[in-house]
């Protein structure tokens, strides 16, 4: 682990308390340094994290609440990074879920120190990245686009989508294929044909299927 003496904004700030935390050696892709901070880690402007190992939590259940109250309302994005290192985790996770929601924390679970370290690294590295990669469909070439669209029908795989496209020549041709045409395709059994036809022929919307929510509200 490299220590940078000068305070930089490029580094993850680490609370002195975390000295000896086994995740620190795994923080390799971004620099980190110790600093006087209230949370355990500060990964960026307004991004901080408290760290909790479930093993520790089972021994000292009150610890995390003290840390939470000391942090108060500071920081915009507050991560509660929890290391799941015990087998009977359900009750504690249930408790932490509730705590994190009540105290405006975003709960993140990691199953190993490496994984926890990777989360910290990623927060630092992506601090200023615009989230385009999760905002829209990735741009693709024609063939991949066709495959993506056809494989969104349940039970249709990539080789089925190639069969469709090569047989009918265009997406329009494939989507307008009749039952008889589909049944003749190599690898297409009745279940697949039915699923595909359901997807292309069923209307987008069915009219008045369920009871009006207003009348339900009145009943209550």
């Amino acid at each position: 682990p490299q220590k940078v003496s000068r305070v930089t904004t490029h580094a993850i700030l680490v609370n002195f308390r975390q000295k000896g935390n086994p995740l620190l050696p795994h923080v390799r892709n971004v620099p980190w340094e110790y600093a006087e901070i209230v949370p355990d880690f500060v990964m960026g402007n307004g991004i901080c994290s408290l760290f909790l190992s479930l093993k520790y939590h089972h021994l000292h259940p009150e610890y995390i609440y003290g840390r939470i109250s000391r942090l108060g309302k500071a920081y915009n994005l507050r991560i509660m990074l929890v290391l799941v290192d015990v087998d009977n985790h359900q009750a504690s996770i249930q408790e932490l879920v509730k705590t994190s929601i009540v105290n405006q924390f975003t709960l993140v679970l990691a199953w190993s120190s490496e994984e926890a370290a990777r989360y910290l690294e990623t927060y630092k590295a992506y601090e200023h990245v615009t989230p385009t990669s999760i905002m829209e469909k990735p741009s693709m070439d024609y063939l991949t686009q066709v495959q993506t669209c056809l494989t969104s029908v349940r039970g249709i795989n990539k080789s089925d989508s190639l069969t469709l496209l090569s047989q009918f020549g265009s997406l329009k041709g494939a989507l307008s294929a009749s039952r008889e045409e589909l049944e003749q395709l190599e690898g297409w059994g009745p279940t697949k044909v039915n699923r595909f036809l359901e997807a292309v022929q069923q209307p987008f919307m069915s009219r008045s299927v369920i009871k009006n929510p207003e009348s339900i509200s009145k009943e209550i």
Partner: protein, 879 residues
């Protein structure tokens, strides 16, 4: 009161009486006219003013039940699904009573929103009871029904004994889900069944057909590929796979790939992409084994071409490797033999090829059988409706085999006994198709090249690629290996391909010409007498009854159908019937048949044993729905919470649930945990816990998928706009291990496409988003309880109206499959898809026809134009 019964055989009457007298689960061997008995049960209880429900029926069941009830029993069956009846109509129809077959998803909704008067239901008949699981929709239905109605009957039917033996106590668990105590078991070897069926056996002739040599070689190649794949899989996953007793025989069994998949299921999200690919390969190889039996040689080559191409494209990721089985020598041998069955070069020279077009061996056997029948038909002519007609029924397992036989029978010639005409036209089709195939293959090579260049290692990948790497290209083409680069080789292949095509096409047209004047096969002059159908479960009984065929040719094997013939023969002993049973000896087909028969017998024996060992299941009175204990606990809970706005009350806490969520088990579990579950069509979120808290549920698979499609981002955006506390619920399956998918490689840099990286981006984009990690739906329901304790109850009307624009009706619902496909289209986003589904565009096929101007109006000028072109883009213009 006189109730008509339409059952002929004594065992049928016995089952009927048993089921009428006592609630229970009836497990029968397939083919013993289950639906007919169930229809009689429905009719028996359908007295005026009664309300009888049929649950779990599919569209075939419905059709057959409807016919049986209307024609033989004088009752009507009303079918309820989203298309047939709107909510008002349903409410009225239920009040009037009668027999209803209701889609499970609608029935749940109707029970929860009190559209159906639960107290007045006379009883339920459940079909396919083997599919019941404690967290499933059907179990939920029965629970909702029993909660308010303790007296109505429940009769369950199943013809799949195996499913009651999967897992520990599967039978008693299933019974508990259905609130039943009794099991009636009727295997084929039951004494009453045997007595009824063996009085008048049908005349069966078995015809054992041999594979051709090339088919035998392909089969053994496929088996060694399977073996190698399994070995590989075992190497990577020895910890999870229990394959002690695996041998090559297992490959012939019906579901070995499913078994392997099931063993890996708990760790599926942690299984390496490589192993996932291997599991996929197993299914592909098993499919090829079956295709070898039913596909003609040209179609087999074609599917092989397609599979090789799709395997080459790998995943969408750039570092995907081709499947290991393709690298095996057996794979190459197989590809070569498959091609040699279609066309071959006599001397090994490149310029001389002739079509071989090997026939399927069963074809000539079929022709001989038909010839034999044609002689007998002349001897016996009868028109008595009591007796069989002279028609011939040919049964196949797939529609494509039917088409194949229709083609074959209408083109074969009496003297040459060859199928040239049909096969020639298939070969021509094949070469026309190759044209498209080449385009695809080229563009895939281009993508491969591009992605390699992106990786900045074009040189190493070319030099580093061993001879085996070239092999996969050879699979698609026909050339011998050469020391050129991959893409050049492909180009080379295709130029040869085109030359070959011309050569063969000229030969084909010659041979077709010479045979034009021959006579056609004479049995077929009266084409009406031959019927070719596929096996279709219960519908086959109907087919036999309406055709009354004297000759039945089973072109593919099917144990259930033999049972149906037995029942048919016993019901109408005076109708003469002869059955020809054609199968490939020593092939997967024979093995599969024998295995299925043996397996069924074993299952029934086990089931009978299981029934006798079963602990008594206590249901009914001592079932706690609203136990005193839970009621007390909840009251205490609200007090602890301060009870500021929720005073101590007996009313259940409410959760508004989106309709689509009823596919998952969570709503059923929530209801079991004493929540009042209110189904609504929600545009924002999946679960609304309070006016403030809204939850979007994602399984691991959904999470990965919706993070990369941009869907989750938009969903979070929408939640944030309307709710104080937007929550993302990441839910693991009950049997999945509770660990996240691994980072691709923790030792290197931060990966852009990792789920965790995307999750980080999401939380940075939405600091107010809360994440709820849950190891199972049960855990989720406990967490919901926690979260709700401080909050006000949600209002369904408000929840449903969020995101709705003027003129849009909240009682309308989306249909999942077409909307998913629409969302899969490029240029359609979370923002604009609603414009499409609320417009007058009805479905996807309609959307294909929409003109450019209209698309511009719906999704904007630029996207509109692009989408319009995308639909029409021709593969052959693409370069």
């Amino acid at each position: 009161m006189d109730i008509p019964i339409h059952l002929t055989l004594s065992y049928q009457k016995k089952i009927f009486n048993e089921v009428i007298n006592e609630d229970g689960l009836c497990v029968m061997a397939p083919g013993l006219s289950l639906l007919q008995i169930a229809a009689n049960v429905l009719a028996y209880f359908a007295v005026p003013r009664s309300l009888v429900l049929l649950v779990g029926a599919n569209s075939n069941d419905n059709e057959l039940m409807q016919r049986e009830l209307e024609e033989e029993l004088g009752k009507t069956l009303q079918i309820v699904n989203t298309e047939t009846m709107s909510v008002d109509k349903r409410e009225k129809a239920y009040q009037d009573g009668g027999i209803f077959s209701v889609t499970s998803r609608i029935l749940v909704m109707d029970l929860l929103t009190h559209i159906i008067p639960t107290e007045n239901i006379t009883g339920l008949v459940l079909l396919h009871a083997d599919r019941i699981v404690s967290t499933g929709t059907e179990a939920f239905i029965i629970r909702l029904y029993r909660e308010k109605n303790k007296t109505g009957f429940i009769k369950a039917f199943s013809d799949d004994p195996e499913r009651f033996l999967m897992g520990i106590n599967a039978l008693s668990n299933a019974l508990r889900c259905m609130f039943l105590r009794h099991v009636f078991i009727y295997p084929r070897f039951h004494v009453d069944v045997t007595e009824s069926l063996e009085k008048t056996p049908a005349d069966v002739i078995e015809l054992n057909v041999d594979f051709t040599d090339s088919q035998k070689s392909i089969q053994s190649c496929l088996l060694s590929c399977i073996e190698a794949t399994v070995r590989e899989l075992r190497r990577y996953n020895s910890a999870y796979l229990d394959m002690e007793e695996w041998n090559i025989d297992s490959a012939l069994h019906r579901s070995f790939d499913v078994t392997i998949r099931r063993q890996l299921d708990p760790v599926w999200h942690r299984v390496s992409p490589k192993s996932k690919q291997l599991v996929g390969d197993l299914s592909t190889l098993k499919f090829l084994l079956n295709a070898l039996i039913s596909y003609d040689c040209v179609s087999f080559l074609k599917i092989l071409d397609t599979i090789i191409l799709s395997v080459r494209t790998g995943g969408f990721s750039s570092n995907a490797q081709p499947s290991p089985w393709l690298m095996l020598d057996s794979a190459n041998t197989m590809i070569r033999i498959a091609r040699d069955r279609v066309y071959r070069s006599p001397t090994g020279s490149m310029d001389e090829y002739y079509p071989v077009l090997e026939e399927q061996p069963k074809w000539s056997v079929l022709r001989d059988v038909l010839e034999e029948i044609s002689h007998e038909n002349i001897l016996h002519e009868s028109n008595d409706p009591e007796f069989s007609t002279n028609s011939i029924l040919i049964m196949c397992s797939e529609e494509r085999t039917c088409l194949q036989l229709r083609d074959y029978l209408s083109t074969i010639h009496y003297d040459t006994k060859e199928s040239f005409k049909m096969m020639n036209s298939r070969l021509m089709d094949y070469f026309h198709w190759r044209e498209q195939y080449r385009n695809m293959s080229n563009s895939i090579s281009k993508i491969e090249r591009n992605s390699k260049e992106k990786q900045n290692t074009p040189e190493t990948s070319r030099k580093g690629a061993p001879a085996s790497k070239r092999r996969r290209v050879r699979g698609g083409g026909i050339a011998a290996s050469r020391s050129t680069t991959e893409s050049n080789l492909a180009q080379d292949n295709f130029s040869k391909d085109i030359r070959l095509e011309k050569l063969l096409l000229s030969q084909i047209s010659k041979s077709t010409y010479t045979q034009e004047e021959n006579e056609s096969f004479e049995v077929l002059s009266d084409t009406n007498s031959i019927y070719i159908y596929t096996y279709n479960y219960e519908m086959d009984t109907l087919l036999l009854n309406s055709l009354r065929p004297r000759f039945i040719i089973m072109f593919d094997s099917d144990p259930d159908f033999i049972r149906r013939i037995e029942v048919y023969k016993a019901t109408y002993p005076q109708r003469a019937t002869r059955v020809y049973f054609i199968y490939y000896g020593g092939s997967v087909e024979e093995q599969k048949y024998l295995y299925t028969v043996r397996r069924e017998k074993d299952s029934f024996s086990k089931l009978i044993r299981e029934r006798s060992n079963m602990a008594v299941v206590l249901t009914g009175e001592n079932e706690r729905f609203e136990g005193q204990e839970t009621k007390f606990l909840r009251n205490v809970n609200t007090r602890i919470a301060g009870g500021g706005h929720v005073s101590v009350t007996n009313e259940k806490p409410r959760i508004v649930v989106d309709l689509r969520e009823f596919r998952s088990s969570l709503p059923s579990i929530l209801h079991g945990n004493n929540f009042s579950v209110i189904p609504c069509q929600l545009l924002v979120g999946d679960y609304v816990l309070s006016p403030n808290i809204c939850v979007e549920r994602k399984s691991i698979r959904d999470l990965i998928q919706s993070l990369s499609s941009g869907r989750l981002y938009s969903q979070c955006e929408a939640m944030l706009e309307h709710y104080e506390v937007p929550v993302l619920l990441i839910e693991f399956e009950q049997n999945q291990t509770f660990t996240s998918p691994p980072f691709s490689d923790l030792s290197t840099e931060i990966g852009k496409s990792d789920v965790q990286s995307k999750l980080v981006l999401l939380t940075i984009a939405f600091p107010k988003l809360r994440i709820l990690w849950s190891s199972s739906a049960y855990a989720t329901s406990l967490m919901f309880q926690d979260l709700k304790s401080l909050e006000k109850e949600p209002d369904p009307a408000v929840a449903a109206s969020i995101g709705l624009e003027a003129g849009q009706d909240s009682t309308n619902t989306y249909n999942q499959a077409p909307v998913d496909l629409l969302m899969g289209l490029p240029y359609i986003s979370m923002k604009n898809y609603k414009n499409v589904i609320y417009s007058d565009v009805i479905n996807i096929q309609d959307a294909c026809e929409v003109d450019e101007r209209k698309w511009s109006e719906l999704i904007g000028p630029e996207a509109g134009r692009s989408l319009y072109t995308f639909f029409r883009k021709k593969l052959k213009d693409y370069e």
